[in-house]
């Protein structure tokens, strides 16, 4: 045994280190393999999808002879070629792989064509002759509500007596606001590749957040069993929820092609097709009715949410539930009535997107609180603070979860000071008084976001850890890597647990044959769940090793310690690699699975009550903008953020999530407008027409801090907090800064009607609106 000189230093790449992304060196040199970069199997077919050009119609006649005759084409496939279930819907079976005759949105898949090259397949797909009998489409949320057109039943949460509370309140306001949807705009479009294996088995590479679901749905479609299909994904080029339920369609199609032809098949969507065919964030009409006192404290509140779910249910049930769970944000709502309509429209079926309905709920309450403040001519921050959940009182959510970890007061107070909110607010008012054509605005908004899947059963995870006799480690778990750094963080957990350097750990692709039945990597839960599962696997191996060492060296178990690539056994030290080799020689298993289920959570969906969330993540942001009153254009000037990551597993990665989430949230509420024409065709289906933020949209003055005292009161993985989704909602501060700037033109005496996204055009509409309000007001007083 060696001496114990290494005893004092830390293992490389343990928990809390600011490691770069595990694939960073591959990303920057173009050597990271995405699915389209994998070596192509011999005989690979390329697949393209033929889609509906009508929003709502019956396919009366479909002539695919020209498609089949097109150069390079090998075969075409329609609904009747599917041996099993013609469905890729994750919850209800209402998402056909190929339309069986009824088309319900422009871009819906009707058939597929397989050809020798990508371009040949795409060209061929356009040669179909399809005759439709058009039906009346529903393209609008309001029309859907009027027609009782819903994908799922409406839901209702009630607490107290909102009617009476509003009636008794000193002040009342009601109104409506619209918040737009958002395309995920992952840079890597949807892609799947199927490879035939012996005896009808198949290996599918899918760019998916949910390999297990792809596996199950592909099996159902092909009339096979889960054991026959393996789904693998090493990384995605971004996902943001857009690859939670949607990838099954493309995987099912390539699997069908492979099943029928015996050849490998790949389907990669062109950007425009991707944006037209796949779901986005839901847009909402939000009606509110609120009663409040002269301090601005909410006495009673009624919300009616109506969201565009599109043509099928997809994940809309849970998305809309989360809207209901987050329309309190950080505010105590004593008497509240929340109605949620899940509207069926003849547009693409909307789906998961970072925040999963939460952002729209939070947007709604922030809008209401801002309206109250403007009505009372108070600083909106004061009204926000007065409505915050209390600590030890006023701390139960509308869904009856008691908030035990409320730190929003501290966060907001710290940020208010560090960002010099009050001083700057005054300076802005002075500036505006002297600046007729440029106006500034400022807003501070809080975030409280519930962490866990609201469907309790999804809160479980598995991992597989193999230790080899050279001391290196193979790590696998049910989570997927979409850029969020999950694989890096879980590897750090493993390095910490096993006390081996992170470069001795191989991070491997998500694979349904290694860890089965994994939940989607979603709901910000990736590190919490998979980190714990990997920890459990590591601890099982360690326990075996300790037991072995205790017996072999005849020492107490407490005298065996793992530290920085060494094992210390009662004063003696041995390199980890040497030790595991010895253990192997003595027939100790060096491989283990690990499993984790989130404790404490329970929830009854029928009554909307329980503890759906294990804990909450908190943060706040202050944004300052300047707007051009003549064009409605604006610049984000300065942003201050204080966010709570608990005890961060990797502060560099978490910072990336905070910054990236914020900018994505700001994009949602500013430049990212989706636009459909009267025929239901999406016309913003490429980066030329759909505008996500670019480099110059990042404010020059951008100050992001993680809460220094951050921890997690619950026993999460190393007391860290989930950080995937919560920061997106920090972007709401940008919207309210714009609203504040517009309010200046009426000397802050009335509130602008500003809908989201606040494009320059929306800003001009709000300016025109507030000007005409002033005219009306003057008439009334005159």
């Amino acid at each position: 045994m060696a001496g114990n000189d290494a005893f004092s230093t830390k293992v490389k790449g343990g928990v809390g280190e600011k490691l770069p992304h595990d694939s960073g060196h591959l990303h920057v040199s173009g050597r990271a393999f995405y699915i389209d970069d994998l070596p192509e199997p011999r005989g690979l077919l390329h697949v393209a999808i033929g889609t509906s050009s009508k929003a709502h119609a019956l396919v009366v006649k479909m002539d695919l002879s020209a498609v089949l005759a097109s150069p390079g084409v090998v075969a075409v496939f329609t609904a009747k070629d599917i041996p099993g279930k013609n469905n890729f819907g994750p919850v209800l079976e209402d998402d056909p792989i190929f339309s069986p005759g009824l088309v319900q949105y422009v871009g819906q898949s009707i058939f597929a064509v397989a050809a020798e090259t990508f371009t040949q397949a795409r060209r061929a797909a356009r040669r179909a002759v399809i005759e439709y009998e058009e039906l009346e489409p529903i393209l609008d949320i309001d029309d859907a509500v009027k027609a009782n057109s819903f994908v799922l039943p409406s839901e209702h949460i009630r607490r107290g007596d909102s009617k009476q509370a509003i009636a008794m309140a000193k002040h009342r306001l009601n109104g409506r606001v619209y918040v737009g949807g958002q395309d995920q705009f992952y840079l890597e479009g949807h892609i799947a590749m199927a490879q035939p294996k012996e005896d009808g088995d198949m290996l599918i590479y899918s760019s998916t957040q949910h390999p297990g679901e792809v596996q199950h749905l592909v099996a159902h479609a092909l009339n096979k069993e889960s054991k026959d299909i393996i789904v693998e994904c090493r990384r995605m080029g971004g996902a943001f929820g857009g690859k939670e339920s949607q990838p099954a369609l493309f995987a099912a199609i390539v699997a069908l092609v492979t099943h029928k032809t015996g050849r490998a098949a790949k389907l990669r969507l062109d950007r425009d097709d991707d944006m037209i065919m796949t779901g986005k964030r839901h847009d909402y009409n939000i009606d509110y009715n609120v009663g409040f006192d002269e301090q601005g404290r909410i006495k009673g509140l009624e919300f009616t949410f109506a969201s565009r779910c599109g043509m099928s249910a997809d994940l809309s049930g849970a998305v809309n539930d989360r809207t209901m769970f987050h329309c309190d944000n950080a505010y105590y709502l004593e008497n509240v009535d929340i109605v949620s309509h899940r509207c069926k429209t003849n547009t693409v079926s909307n789906t998961a997107f970072r925040g999963f309905g939460g952002p729209q709920g939070m947007f709604a309450i922030e809008y209401v609180v801002d309206e109250i403040a403007r009505f009372l001519e108070k600083d909106p921050l004061q009204v926000r603070q007065i409505n915050f959940y209390g600590v030890g009182e006023r701390d139960v959510t509308p869904y009856h979860q008691k908030i035990e970890d409320n730190i929003i007061h501290d966060i907001v107070n710290q940020l208010k000071d560090s960002a010099e909110y009050t001083t700057r607010r005054n300076e802005i008012r002075q500036f505006n008084a002297q600046s007729p054509f440029l106006k500034k605005g400022i807003a501070l908004t809080p975030v409280k976001f519930g962490i866990s899947f609201t469907a309790t059963h999804l809160n479980q995870a598995g991992a597989l850890v193999n230790v080899y006799t050279d001391g290196t480690v193979h790590l696998n778990h049910g989570g997927t890597e979409m850029g969020q750094g999950l694989f890096t963080k879980v590897a750090q957990v493993l390095a910490e647990e096993l006390q081996v350097d992170i470069d001795r750990i191989k991070i491997t692709a998500s694979d349904t044959s290694k860890v089965p039945n994994a939940s989607a990597t979603a709901a910000s839960s990736g590190s919490d769940l998979n980190g714990k599962a990997a920890q459990a696997a590591a601890r099982t191996i360690k326990e075996r090793l300790i037991a072995f060492a205790a017996e072999h060296f005849n020492v107490a178990a407490g005298e065996v310690q793992f530290s920085n690539n060494y094992v210390h056994i009662a004063g003696e030290t041995m390199p980890f690699a040497e030790f595991v080799k010895l253990a192997h020689f003595h027939r100790v298993s060096l491989s283990s699975t690990g499993f984790y289920r989130t404790p404490k959570i329970h929830y009854d969906r029928k009554t909307f009550s329980g503890r759906p969330f294990y804990y909450y993540a908190y943060g706040a942001a202050v944004s300052e903008v300047v707007i051009d009153m003549l064009t409605g254009e604006y610049r984000l000037l300065r942003v201050d953020i204080l966010h709570d990551c608990g005890q961060s597993l990797n502060p560099a990665i978490d910072l990336g999530q905070i910054e990236g989430g914020f900018i994505q949230g700001a994009g949602w509420l500013t430049s990212e407008a989706l636009w459909w024409n009267e025929s239901g065709e999406l016309k913003t289906h490429a980066p030329s027409t759909y505008k996500i933020p670019v480099c110059s949209d990042l404010p020059v003055d951008f100050r992001v801090t993680m809460l220094e005292s951050g921890t997690n009161r619950e026993d999460s993985i190393y007391r860290s907090k989930a950080v995937g989704e919560p920061p997106l909602m920090l972007g709401i501060s940008v919207f309210h800064a714009i609203k504040d700037a517009v309010a200046s033109i009426a000397d802050y005496k009335s509130s602008p009607r500003l809908n989201a996204p606040a494009t320059p055009e929306e800003v001009i509409t709000a300016i025109e609106g507030i000007k005409s309000q002033r005219v009306v007001n003057r008439r009334q007083t005159g």
């Binding site: 770069p20 992304h21 694939s23 960073g24 060196h25 990303h27 920057v28 040199s29 173009g30 393999f33 995405y34 970069d37 060209r123 356009r126 995920q184 705009f185 840079l187 890597e188 995605m236 080029g237 971004g238 943001f240 062109d270 950007r271 440029l438 850029g483 969020q484 300047v626 051009d628 003549l630 064009t631 254009e633 610049r635 000037l637 560099a652 910072l655 990336g656 910054e659 990236g660 914020f662 994505q664 430049s671 636009w675 913003t684 980066p687 030329s688 027409t689 933020p693 670019v694 480099c695 110059s696 949209d697 990042l698 020059v700 951008f702 992001v704 494009t759 320059p760 055009e761 001009i764």
Partner: protein
């Protein structure tokens, strides 16, 4: 001798450098893109396809090209819309060029890793290449320089802050390596020995003849002189001219069109010239926007914001001013300004040459006054006249790399406070970029004051009845058209730009 060579074009074979190696490609589909060639033929999969329309930058590569005899220009372009034959005679750098297999990371790459500039990594190779182009062309870039250099690259994960950090820090990661590739830009009188070798190698690829590619019924010509170009234009009057490919590329990648005959004008030296005469700036039809900008801005600094917001560097590096004009899109950004400046264009055939006022050139949507066989030779922008006020404003959802909802341009000469002459043009309001003649008349000879400007603003509704589409509603377009005129009034009557504009505010 030269003439014989011109009459005997090289056929069906292009040559270019990929890193240090000459690549010869034979039997190529001439509308195959550089990206398709890299990914599918060479299996160089580092370069990604994000949109196939030149708007996301995931496909960014860098082209090395000679400017004159002894200058090497390195410029980022979108490989997804560049046709492969346009590579002939150039040097291509991909993300794989920067660090060989297993080689050390390039300073740009190192900075990106250490600043946490990649998350999902899919946009990263494109960012790396845009940063590499910046690294090799500029020292100590400001935030504004970085924003501009990266305006054509979309990242959905990071929010850009770490990438901006990398752009600032990449210069500090210089390795001891003597390699030209890893050296940042330096102002030097002479190219280094290694750079000289690259220049010499590129010279060795120069052709003294034209090039012709035929493939499956598609004819693709690369004439190397005006004379050959004019002959080709006459022989193939239905041919499509290709310059930067920033529009024609999309016909193929998006509309999947199969083009019969293409004439690429990028190798015609005569068309790449810029000259300043006594009263005009003359810009050849194949001059890129990147090369045209400095000379235009030297004389018309008022147009700086317009040109910085004009597409993105990779698009401006490929796209030409001539292409923007010849294309005649209703939302092309250069035309309103050029029209108000009194720009003319010169159209040539073998026998004749005529000069057309730009504001007379456009007839209707995608229809203009170019006759079959005519070649756009050059653009003549008059030099500024004294006492003239010039502005051009662009309004879009996003500042950078967006298409105008409305673009307005104004050129006015005041005598005392009277409007002695005025030209006003708009893009985005009609099927073509167009003068606002009724509005101009309302202002001519009037005092330049609030009242007359308000009257003129109201008259714009008679000049234009804009449409509603995904970029803006008709109502917004009309409102903005009026407000931009008002902004012009403000900026010519005492208001400083930091009281009227937000683009550069606080930057």
């Amino acid at each position: 001798m030269a003439d014989t060579k011109r009459n005997n074009p090289a056929k069906n074979e292009i040559r270019f450098f990929l890193d240090d190696e000459v690549i010869t490609v034979k039997d190529i589909d001439p509308t195959r893109t550089i990206l398709q060639y890299l990914r599918e033929d060479l299996r160089y999969t580092g370069t990604k396809e994000g949109c196939a329309e030149g708007d996301c930058g995931a496909c960014t590569v860098v082209l090395g090209e000679l400017a004159g005899d002894d200058t090497l220009n390195l410029r980022a372009v979108n490989s997804c819309i560049q046709f492969l034959p346009t590579l002939d005679g150039k040097r291509l750098f991909t993300v794989e060029s920067l660090s060989g297999p297993g080689g050390p990371l390039h300073p740009v790459q190192k900075a990106m890793v250490e600043c946490h500039g990649s998350q999902c990594g899919f946009c990263t190779p494109g960012f790396v290449m845009s940063l590499f182009a910046l690294y090799k062309s500029q020292q100590n870039p400001t935030r504004k320089d970085i924003d501009d250099a990266l305006a054509g690259n979309l990242c959905r994960c990071t929010g850009y802050r770490p990438i901006i950090d990398a752009a600032q820090k990449m210069y500090t990661y210089q390795t001891a390596s003597a390699k030209w590739l890893t050296h940042p830009f330096r102002h030097e009188a002479k190219p280094s020995e290694e750079e000289q070798q690259i220049i010499d190698k590129l010279k060795s690829l120069r052709r003294e003849c034209s090039l012709e590619i035929t493939y499956n019924g598609t004819r693709f010509f690369i004439p190397n002189s005006m004379q050959v170009l004019i002959q080709l234009a006459e022989t193939y009057p239905d041919a499509h001219f290709l310059a930067g490919g920033t529009d024609v590329g999309l016909w193929v990648t998006k509309q999947l069109r199969e083009l019969d005959c293409i004439i690429y004008i990028g190798n015609v030296d005569e068309l790449k010239k810029i000259a300043v005469t006594q009263d005009h700036i003359e810009i050849g039809a194949a001059v890129t926007l990147t090369d045209a900008m400095p000379i235009l801005l030297e004389h018309y600094p008022e147009l700086e914001e317009l040109f910085i917001r004009f597409a993105s560097p990779p698009i401006r590096n490929a796209g030409t001013l001539g292409g923007n004009i010849a294309n005649g899109s209703p939302i092309g950004d250069s035309m309103p300004a050029l029209m108000t400046l009194g720009t003319t264009i010169v159209l040539r055939t073998a026998r004749s040459s005529r000069e057309v006022e730009l504001d007379q050139f456009y007839i209707d949507y995608q229809k203009n006054d170019r006759r079959p066989g005519e070649v756009l030779e050059r653009i003549r922008v008059p030099l500024p006249k004294p006492n003239t006020h010039i502005r051009s404003y662009k309004v879009s959802k996003r500042f950078d790399q967006d298409i105008s909802a409305v673009c307005g341009a104004y050129c006015m000469r005041l005598e005392e406070d009277r409007v002695a002459s005025i030209k006003i043009s708009y893009g985005g309001l009609a099927a073509i970029p167009k003068r606002a003649t009724i509005c101009e008349q309302a202002l001519l000879k009037k005092s330049w004051n609030e009242a007359s400007v308000q009257t003129a603003m109201a008259s714009l509704d008679r000049d234009f009845q804009p449409i509603t589409d995904m970029r803006a509603s008709s109502h917004y377009r009309s409102t903005i058209a009026r407000n931009l005129l008002y902004k012009f009034y403000l900026e010519t009557s005492g208001f400083d730009q930091n009281q009227t504009r937000v683009y550069d505010y606080g930057r």
